[in-house]
Structures are given as structure tokens and as C-alpha cells.
């Protein structure tokens, strides 16, 4: 939790729109924005099938050996607690929303281990909002996910919240720091 708090605060400052943070419950219950957290969508990765129709998608890689893996694959290391359509398959990238959407200013944060450098990174899963379901690369992983009773640890919420529209399109997975 301390690593989480540290990065929640850093993120909070970076995305800040004010709102002081008094107590845990007050923050959870009343923060209009803050370092809160989460995207969307449940159930098993087995359901995340494509609809048939031709060739497999070639991998989308970073080109950096320190950030290995296919960003269109649910197995990519940053997606350890994501829930939704991968923006890399939707016109965005691993950390950029697709054109036409608005990125949620506050997000659910996971802690994922990078297999290349062994570090645990804090990953921000921002939702992209204002365009209907992308429908590509549905992915749900839940390392560290907890029920909605602890909002900042739950990826079932639709965090298209402080955005102009709450319609959900896809989710990114951006590095916001190293868990210390």
C-alpha cells in the first residue's frame, strides 16, 4: 500500500485538479478527482476471443528490449490488472487514447513486474471515453484487483467519470513510476 500511496500522490499531482486529501474514507468517498483508479469489464480471458476472419495480428512491440512483449496481447506485462479493450488495437497506443476519445483524468493503478528488468512498475490504466466499445483485443487480468468495496483496487468500475461523456471505448496502460 505504501508504494501505491506514493504513486497515487504523484499521479494526483500530475493530473491535479485540486481537492485536498483528508482521510482515507474522505478521499474514497468525496474526491471529485484524485489518484483514484480503474477501468472496466470482467470475466475470463477465455471469453476474449476474436470473431474469426483471417490472419493473426503481428505483434506490436516497443523496439526497446527493456520493454518486451506484444502490446496487442493480453499477456503483455503491463496488462497485469487491466480490464477492457486494449487501446493499442483501437487507434491508440499502450499509453495514448484513440483519436476522438477523451482520456479519463483519474484511473485505477496496478503494479506489474517487467520481466526484462525485474522491476515492479506502477501502471495507470486510464479509460478512453466518448466513443462506443472498440470491440478489439478484450483483455481482463486481475493481479491485485480487489472488490469494489475498495475502489482504488478494483477494475470493474467504468472510470469514464470526469470526462465529458461516460461512454467507454478502450483502456491504456501507462508507466507512471517504479514501485519503491
Amino acid at each position: 500500500m505504501s508504494a501505491f500511496d506514493t504513486f497515487a500522490e504523484k499521479l494526483s499531482r500530475r493530473l491535479a485538479r485540486g481537492t485536498s486529501r483528508r482521510s482515507y474514507l474522505a478521499w474514497l468517498g468525496m474526491a471529485a478527482t484524485g489518484a483514484a483508479v480503474f477501468p472496466v469489464l470482467p470475466v475470463s480471458r477465455a471469453a476474449a476471443q476474436s470473431h474469426g476472419g483471417g490472419a493473426a495480428r503481428p505483434p506490436i512491440t516497443s523496439g526497446n528490449p527493456q520493454d518486451p512483449g506484444d502490446r496487442a496481447s493480453c499477456d503483455y506485462w503491463r496488462y497485469c490488472a487491466i480490464d477492457g479493450f486494449l487501446c493499442s488495437c483501437c487507434g491508440g497506443t499502450v499509453n495514448t487514447c484513440p483519436p476522438g476519445t477523451e482520456m479519463s483524468p483519474i484511473t485505477w493503478i496496478g503494479t506489474c513486474t517487467n520481466p526484462a528488468d525485474g522491476r515492479a512498475y506502477v501502471i495507470s490504466y486510464n479509460d478512453c471515453c466518448g466513443v462506443s466499445s472498440c470491440g478489439q483485443c478484450l483483455c481482463n487480468r486481475n493481479e491485485g484487483d480487489r472488490p469494489q468495496v475498495r475502489p482504488q483496487s478494483n477494475n470493474d468500475y467504468n472510470w469514464c467519470l470526469s470526462t465529458e461523456s461516460s461512454i467507454y471505448n478502450c483502456s491504456v496502460a501507462a508507466i507512471v513510476g517504479v514501485a519503491e
Binding site: 486481475n142 469494489q148 475502489p151
Partner: protein, 389 residues
């Protein structure tokens, strides 16, 4: 008399060879139009409500009415539950209620949150209660975010902005009664005469009773009912009468008596038990992983691949636990990797299972025998199964 079958055979054969001959039967009759089907006043107990999350168009969510005994025509009707919507059913009033969110331009524009009242016989809308503030909680479908209180007269709707609160609505009077701040607490379960229980981030629960205006009459907190970090409760509860049963990520069973004004945690250390073959261990897994069945039995969907983060990955067996004896009475091996379960209230109850590939399978809830599959004939993403009471 004996010649009748022959005459019939002759007629049919004439018919096939020379259909418009003098021997042909009269043409099929004209059919009356327009014609729209209705549903029975009292739904048969083989019927269930299946929430279709509709991932590929979440704004177009729906609940489908399904007859689990009818493999030819299982889909009986569709009720709109738009944009992470929720549904409640009051069979005594022959009404459904949906809590939904709309935009004036489908994906953009003006937002309206509303409860729609639907006739359960015609599935036509019969009224609407607009919810103020554009704050209705949107999430993957849980049964605790839109609940009855005060019998079927009122309902509570969860809000999340991320500020957490609950809006109390008079369904019969068709008006909003109140909004109650509940910082740090989520999901609601009807409790006592006119109240609800909610679970809070610090591991406590809070039970609130309302006055006849929908304002807080009493509020009582019970500390340390769950360990959210290590033994969190799956939030979709199984209701056995007025007892809410939850299973935790690692298989504890937690009962709460909700008949009084304050939730009373049931004593005892119940669990689903353990088994061989886990990789590394058996744990509950799926979305709606617990259901209440006949003779007080609890049904829990289990995965052999249990570990941190596996809790939504679905399961391959259903384990039956008798909370009275504390014993596991049987294990049902499922036909397919499955996500959610429910148990019907039929004389011969059935276990209804939604598969990871979106099919729906039906088992004998007592013997565990596979009965039939409905296939993928009703919903794109069946996520909750609510048997007719």
C-alpha cells in the same frame, strides 16, 4: 374405416406429385396481423433473467428473459438496460425496473440517468423516474448496486463520481426520496423492514434503516467483518431467505442475517474446503460465483487454477456446501469453462451455468447431472443469472 389411412396416404402422395390437383388440401390460412407476443402473468420457475453485458456495445446492454427448459425457444424477451444498466424484478407487481444512463446523441451530448418501469407481461415501459446529478454508478454488472428496500416499494441506486452515495427512490410514488452520502462504502443488500446493509473499505459493514421519508433513521456499523486485502468477499451475494451468503477469494463462506435492523454476521468458520489437483490450488473463480439452492445448500463455482488474480477467470466445477453441517456434500464437474451460476426455484431445481464462450448449460441441481445446453441462443455476454423467485 380401415381405408382411412390409405386414403390419407393417397392424398399426400397426390399432393406431393401434383400439388394443385383437385385432391389438394385447402391452402394454409391467412395469419392475423399485427400480432405481438406477451409473457405469462406469473413466470414459470424454469425461467431466469440473464444479464447480457454486451461488451461490444456496452451502451446497448440488455437483460434477456430465458426459459431454461425450452431448448428450441429459450429466449422469451429482451429488456433494455442501457450503458452499464441494472435491473430489478417484482413478480408480485408484474414489473421490472431498470436503472440506466442515456446520452442525447448516443455517445455524447446531454446525460440522463433514469429508472424505467416495465410491465413484465408486455415488456412495454410504463413510467420513468429521472435520477438527478448524472452520478449513477457505472460498472460491470453487480446485483448490489440497484436493490429493493421497503419490500418492493422503494429502491436504492448506487452513485459513484467517485464520491459514493446512494439515491433512495419511491418506485410506487415514482419520485426520488433522498440521497445519502456513504463515503468508502459500496453495494447494498436489503436489511430489516426498511433499510439496507453496505460494506466499507475498512472491512466494516454499515446497516441503515430509513424513515418513511427515505431519510436515515438509524445507522450502525459492525467493524472487521472482512479482510479486504487477504480474504475479500466476492460482492455478488447468494440470498437464502433473508440471509446473504458471500464467498471469499480463498473460499471462506460468510453469512449475514439481514432480517433485523442491523446485519448480524453468522458465527462459525465455514469454507468450501480443499481438494487435490489445484495448480496451485482450488479457489472460487468467475463473476457470479455463489448461488443458494434447495435445502439451504450453497453452490460455489470453483477453479483449479486458483492464485492471486485468478478470481475472475471462471471455473470448471461447482461445489455444494451445506452450511448447517459445514460439510461439502458434492462436486459437479462442468461441461465447459464457466463464468456465472444460478439455481432455479423449480420443484426439481436446476443449476444454470453461463459458459466463457457465452453458451448457457443446465444441470440437475441435486444430482449434478448435465441436462442440456441452450447453446449461444440468448445473450452475447451472459454475466448474471437471476432465477425467477
Amino acid at each position: 374405416m380401415r381405408s382411412t389411412p390409405f386414403a390419407l396416404a393417397l392424398l399426400l402422395s397426390a399432393f406431393a406429385g401434383s400439388p394443385l390437383s383437385a385432391a389438394a388440401p385447402p391452402p394454409l390460412p391467412e395469419e392475423a396481423l399485427p400480432a405481438v407476443a406477451t409473457l405469462p402473468e406469473n413466470y414459470p420457475k424454469s425461467w431466469v433473467l440473464v444479464h447480457d453485458f454486451n461488451f461490444n456495445a456496452i451502451l446497448d446492454g440488455r437483460v434477456v428473459v430465458v426459459d431454461t427448459a425450452d431448448t428450441a425457444q429459450p429466449l422469451k424477451g429482451i429488456i433494455r438496460t442501457a450503458q452499464f444498466g441494472n435491473l430489478l424484478f417484482a413478480p408480485d407487481k408484474h414489473e421490472f425496473y431498470t436503472a440506466e444512463t442515456f446520452y442525447s446523441r448516443l455517445t455524447r451530448g446531454e446525460r440522463t440517468d433514469a429508472i424505467t418501469l416495465w410491465d413484465s407481461v408486455t415488456l412495454q415501459p410504463k413510467g420513468e423516474i429521472v435520477l438527478p446529478g448524472g452520478k449513477r454508478q457505472q460498472a460491470v454488472t453487480y446485483n448490489g448496486t440497484f436493490q429493493f428496500v421497503n419490500g418492493h416499494k422503494w429502491a436504492v441506486v448506487a452513485n459513484f463520481t467517485p464520491a459514493q452515495s446512494v439515491t433512495v427512490v419511491d418506485l410506487e410514488g415514482r419520485k426520488v426520496l433522498s440521497e445519502i452520502d456513504l463515503p468508502g462504502c459500496s453495494h447494498f443488500y436489503p436489511t430489516g423492514a426498511r433499510g439496507f446493509t453496505t460494506f466499507c473499505a475498512d472491512g466494516s459493514l454499515t446497516s441503515i434503516q430509513l424513515d418513511d421519508k427515505g431519510q436515515v433513521a438509524s445507522s450502525r456499523t459492525v467493524a472487521d467483518v472482512q479482510d479486504v486485502e487477504n480474504q475479500a468477499q466476492f460482492q455478488n451475494a447468494a440470498m437464502a431467505g433473508q440471509t446473504a451468503w458471500f464467498v471469499t477469494f480463498r473460499g471462506q463462506l460468510k453469512g449475514y442475517d439481514l432480517s433485523g435492523p442491523v446485519a448480524r454476521p453468522l458465527p462459525g468458520n465455514l469454507s468450501v474446503g480443499t481438494a487435490e489437483g489445484g495448480q496451485p490450488e482450488w479457489r472460487p473463480g468467475g463473476w457470479q460465483v455463489i448461488a443458494a439452492g434447495p435445502k439451504g445448500l450453497l453452490y460455489v463455482l470453483m477453479s483449479p487454477y486458483g492464485k492471486e488474480g485468478s478470481h475472475k477467470d471462471g471455473g470448471t466445477e461447482v461445489w455444494l456446501i451445506d452450511p448447517a453441517s459445514g460439510k461439502r456434500v458434492s462436486r459437479i464437474a462442468l461441461q465447459a469453462h464457466s463464468a456465472s451460476i444460478g439455481v432455479t426455484n423449480e420443484t426439481t431445481p436446476h443449476l444454470i451455468v453461463t459458459r466463457a464462450d457465452a453458451g448457457i448449460d443446465v444441470y440437475d441441481a441435486v444430482s449434478g447431472a448435465f441436462v442440456h445446453s441452450l447453446g449461444n441462443t440468448t445473450a452475447f455476454n451472459p454475466i448474471l443469472v437471476t432465477p425467477v423467485p
